[in-house]
Symmetry: C2
Subunit: 746 residues, 2 copies
């Protein structure tokens, strides 16, 4: 057992390697599935090429960004004693792995789509197997790369700054330095995530709205029609937005949550068998277990007959992975954390006595916080589903208000979106309160870590949706039989529900992650309070609250502008290329793909820079406490705007979809093409950028701004100079004492 204690740190990347191994096997299985006829392959080829074209264009821009930001980080690392230029390497690796995770997901998604279509010719069970395995590859890839990256870098930095030094001399800031440098990894991951989410979100909606405006409205051809030059761009959009964007988002959350918990864990004075660093290691080990049980859960997702419920199969897998992880985490906590109570270093006075009124907590408390995190995540998904599901009151109210026209449909959707913030916020507030009650700020962070533990499974379910959607598109474009499209439609419908619940989960995780990062920031910046009674902090709170509004405005209007450019191009092709309408000439799909790519890459820059630069400017000019106010404002306003926009968009979407089967309003049944349906289409179009561009970007916005703040925290001047360094030295002394003891045992 002693041996395990001492080598646990080296075991962490192994969890990730297991994940990647299973991913490779599943990926190979998908690859060897049949791909169907030539027409299907041609279309799938266009989509795969378009997706890669976007990635290449995005990577080109982002590589400049990574180089510039990396150099700045390296330079800044040399300016402060507590910091290190090594952070630049950490940053580049984070950025690279995030981009690589996106690439893996996109490659498997663009393979799985056509194979799912082909499998749907056989049975629903087989189609589910192919599409969900594709999703699993994505999930395992993201989680595996994150754990390998974070775990390995931690070993390196721990060896560099803590372990090796420890035997020799006691250096003041060792563990802090290791984690400061590790924060660069998270910053790299989250920066790429922001651009991927915003760029992908603009891409997918520009193509979607543009294709619909000219194709459906002007030319009168159906959705997913091969004659529409923008249809490939539309299908590419599903991959770059929903697959790569969502993957990067959760990769970032996953890493940021672990990092924030580790930073707070560093501040804990704990008499454990791991040299006092058990609270630092715990989140990574939980993630490792969660990854293993995600593999177990994913293996349970299967159906036998055509009439079996796909949703039920997904739920079984999801719940299995969550419950197994929770049980395993209980034993893990019992093993890793000490039997005595423990506390934060900042709660000690100069004589190591715990200050009056300070919080002391136990390993059972920590497990309590993890459970709170799991409950919050589950409730958020349920609430989100209620507000966006067909047949429930919110969507029904929008349908009813569609009867009096476009305007009342919009008013109805906006009201639903605003109302839908109430329960999530109350759940979140109760979650903050509860997890803090059990284990202080560390509890808030570890709650987020618990919630994120099964990210691989969550992402498998999330990525399955757009794969099924694409499969349906290929079936439609290839004009396959009704039976095949029925199966892909079945999968697609489940995918719509999981997309909604996935968004609820993503928002909850982002909120808790941001709070954990916020707490970590305060610790690293070495400030005692963030007092909104101070005028400057309050001003920061106002400015922070405003940022999600301007960020959303930029995203929404970018979609509008990019969609207009797409419209122009489609009109040009219809005009200049004779024979498109008669299936005699192939439209220049790649031109539309290029338009969407260029526009999204161009338009993602401004919102991205706001998120990156604001905390730096505010932090250096006004100090860490005002920056803390800014972060609180961004987080509160961002969570609210995220929930509002995502749910309004989801509800509008399903209100429109309800007309496909017919809806009753005041005793009359209305179908597609009726006036109320037209009004519902308006709502859906407004909801598109809400739910797929600006809404989900809020998650990354709030996380990224928190991480930037965390990274610059050691550089900020505080009024309480010395507090920080003194506290760190205390902690590091207690760690190094343990490390020396451990070293002797080996």
């Amino acid at each position: 057992m002693d041996l395990l204690n001492n080598y646990l740190i080296y075991l962490i990347p192994v969890f990730g390697l297991v994940g990647i191994l299973v991913m490779a096997i599943k990926s190979a299985w998908v690859t060897k599935q049949e791909t169907g006829d030539a027409s299907m392959n041609e279309l799938a080829g266009y989509i795969a090429d378009g997706a890669m074209a976007f990635l290449r264009a995005e990577w080109k821009i982002l590589s400049y960004f990574v180089v510039v930001a990396g150099l700045l980080l390296a330079w800044s690392g040399t300016t402060v004693a507590t910091s290190s230029p090594v952070i630049a390497i950490s940053f580049v690796i984070g950025a690279f792995l995030s981009a690589f995770a996106g690439y893996l997901g996109m490659r498997i998604a663009t393979k799985s789509n056509v194979r799912t279509t082909q499998a749907a010719k056989t049975s629903l069970a087989q189609a589910l197997k192919v599409s969900f395995t594709g999703g699993t590859v994505m999930g395992l890839g993201v989680a595996g790369l994150a754990i390998i990256g974070l775990g390995s870098l931690f070993i390196v930095f721990y060896t560099m700054y803590v372990k090796n030094v420890a035997g020799a001399t006691v250096n003041g800031d060792d563990m802090a330095k290791a984690l400061d440098v590790l924060a660069g990894f998270s910053l790299g991951a989250e920066s790429i995530a922001l651009f991927a989410r915003v760029g992908g979100g603009i891409y997918t909606k520009a193509a979607d709205v543009g294709a619909d405006l000219v194709g459906k409205v002007e030319a009168g051809i159906p959705e997913d029609d091969v004659r529409n030059p923008a249809t490939i761009a539309d299908n590419v959009g599903d991959n770059v937005g929903d697959v790569a964007g969502m993957g990067a988002d959760l990769f970032g959350s996953y890493v940021a949550t672990m990092l924030a918990t580790m930073v707070l864990g560093r501040e804990i004075v704990s008499n454990d068998a791991f040299g006092g660093i058990a609270p630092v290691l715990l989140p990574m080990v939980i993630a490792g277990l969660g990854l293993l049980f995600s593999i177990v859960g994913a293996s349970l997702v299967k159906i036998k007959n055509e009439t079996d419920s796909v949703q039920k199969a997904l739920n079984i897998g999801n719940w299995a992975s969550i419950i197994l992880t929770a049980v395993a985490t209980y034993f893990l906590v019992q093993w890793m954390l000490p039997n005595d109570s423990f506390h934060m270093l900042r709660d000690e006075d100069a004589n190591h006595a715990i200050k009056a009124g300070s919080l002391v907590f136990t390993k059972n408390g920590v497990f309590g916080s993890i459970l709170v995190g799991l409950v919050v995540g589950t409730l958020m998904s349920i609430i989100t589903e209620y507000y966006t599901a067909m047949g429930k009151r919110p969507v029904m109210s929008i349908i009813r208000q569609s009867a009096t026209g476009h305007a009342t449909n919009i008013i109805g959707g906006l009201a639903v979106g605003m109302e839908s913030t109430v329960l999530p916020i109350l759940v979140l507030a109760a979650g903050i309160y509860g997890s803090y009650f059990f284990a202080g700020l560390y509890g808030v962070a570890i709650a987020a870590a618990g919630m994120m533990a099964t990210t691989a499974m969550q992402l498998a379910i999330d990525a399955f949706g757009p794969i099924a959607d694409n499969a349906g598109g290929i079936a439609e474009m290839s004009r396959l039989p009704e039976e095949v499209r029925g199966r892909t439609d079945n999968l697609d419908a489940v995918g719509n529900t999981t997309a909604a619940t996935g968004k609820g989960f993503a928002i909850a995780s982002a909120a808790l992650t941001s709070l954990a990062l916020f707490a970590a920031f305060v610790g690293v910046a070495g400030i005692e309070h963030i007092d909104i009674y101070k005028a400057n902090v309050l001003a920061g709170l106002f400015v922070g609250g405003m940022i999600p509004f301007i960020f959303s405005a930029l995203c929404i209007s970018a979609v509008g502008r990019a969609a207009m450019a797409m419209v122009e191009e489609v009109r040009r092709q219809f005009r200049e290329i004779p024979g498109i309408m008669e299936y005699k000439a192939r439209p220049e799909y790649e031109k539309c793909v290029e338009i969407s790519t260029k526009a999204s890459i161009r338009e993602m820059v401004a919102p991205g820079l706001i998120a990156l630069i604001t905390p730096i400017v505010v932090g250096f000019i006004f100090g860490p406490e005002v920056l803390g106010g800014l972060l609180a404002g961004v987080t509160v306003s961002g969570v609210l705007m995220g929930i509002f926009q995502s749910n309004a968009g989801g509800a509008w979407d399903n209100a429109k979809k309800s007309f496909e089967k017919g809806v009753e309003i005041n005793g009359e049944i209305y179908y597609k093409k009726s006036e109320p349906h037209k009004a519902s289409v308006t709502g859906d179009t407004v909801g598109d950028p809400f739910k797929d561009t600006s809404g989900p970007s809020m998650n990354i916005l709030i996380k990224l701004m928190s991480i930037v703040s965390l990274v610059i925290a050691p550089h900020l001047n505080t009024n309480e100079t010395g507090v920080k360094t003194a506290q760190r030295q205390e902690k590091v002394q207690s760690i190094t004492v343990h490390v020396v003891q451990v070293d002797k045992k080996l």
Copy 2:
């Protein structure tokens, strides 16, 4: 001069009396103007009756509320030593005066409208004179009643709790008690304001949207057509929403600003010639001067020729009153405040030495803060105008996006609304920073007081708009000659601009007022910090941020429901009363008025109770610091949602109006009835509840929740018991010493 010093307190209500006297003269002048022919008088009669019917219905419900809340206040006043049951009386007087101010405004508005129509037969100059005099009556009435009420009650409570006691024994909490009781006045005023604003807002938009949906769309008759049963309700709505609602809103802001400044002024240790209470008296005297100079400014608003600019005339009057008040305030501050520097009591240690890092300020600093307030108010108006004015970039962008349909028009408007939060928030943040820099938290409060000083003039300009609007409606319904309607349209167009700038001003004043109340609350609750680093405070911040969202959702969907009820009724009348369409039968206007009245009264309850009850529940369960977090969340989110909704609504409105004269989109000119115009009508309808119901209600929401918190503050348990009482005793001792000295001199 000594005599003036000692009796200044008694002079304050005299300012108010002067205002009321001038108001009476101007009111008499309006009343004796010609009212036109029988048809005009009949229509005006319906409008006046409808408006009174709404007021009576509202008063009935509100009287129950006032009785219940008054009894609760009286009871709670007996439970805490620092409080008094007298607060109930103060509350009832505040509620009564607020309602009475609304009544005065509505009565003069319903008189001025038809007289303006009649005057428009003669000349534009005369029409402006009548309508603006009507507005002035409203402005002077609101400001006059507020100053009389607050000033007289202060004299009474000062005499009861401070002055008379002072000569005998030193009682610990004298001045604090006087101001705690006075807070009841503000609570009464703001409660009524909330119901008036929300109820009026729902009324006016339910009638407006309902009338349009059946009249314009289904029956194909123009706006303001006598055959539409809802047309009178629509015109009544302008009065109950824009006149009474706006009046109550600004009455509440005006009183709350003075009160908050007085509460903070109480905490100042000042060696002035007024027994140390100069900082407490100052805001009321500034308001008095502002009222006098508003009378001067109003007298300058006049034009001579038909081609003179109405806007310019209003600007001259506005600027004159602001500049004169600023100059007078400079001398006032020089006279009233001491030459030595002064500071907040909380910044003293036990030995009366000023703590390190504390803020010390001077009379010039206080004047600096007042100037900051004036600048903030002016900038907010200018920015609001930019974002909502015809021909400027934001409105033009919405017009362009109308070319591709309803959805893109909505996306455009939402983006403009969100973007429009940026500059106002930066101005506000700079204003907070600047006014705090000059004079600490007292500076933030006095900045708001400075901004609100010329409320009478602001309100005169605001109320002039709906009077002109109504005058145009009467001209239309009575089918008066083109020339007359041209003049009322001219006034109405100016009224639209002033409505937009007025909203910017109202939001800025509400924001600063709330911050002042927030600061006052912290002082009265006796807490040292509001630390958002604490998990429970952060949870409070989240819940607070959510409240404006649910409040807006309730307001918006209330308008939707009430409009549907209106639609049903109008359809019934068209069906059951033969001859309406041929002008042979009079529609039952009063039925529609009743529907709108009942619906708005019913729907205003839920949002009102949220605003009133949330702070009480949170305060008593979670304590004052969490309540502080809640208030900060409400304020930030409320200001953002207020600006977003008001500006989006205003921009949509003017985008639609731009089509009347024709707009160019991509080289083509579009007019009314074109497809882009129809899309713009959708935006305008969505914007209606945004800009006239939920948006402006945000102002009162944030103020009311702050006032409720201030009133309950003495009842809340703090962890730092004793701090509060000790501080108050210190201050009151210094005051009583001065009072004894002053008394001896007399």
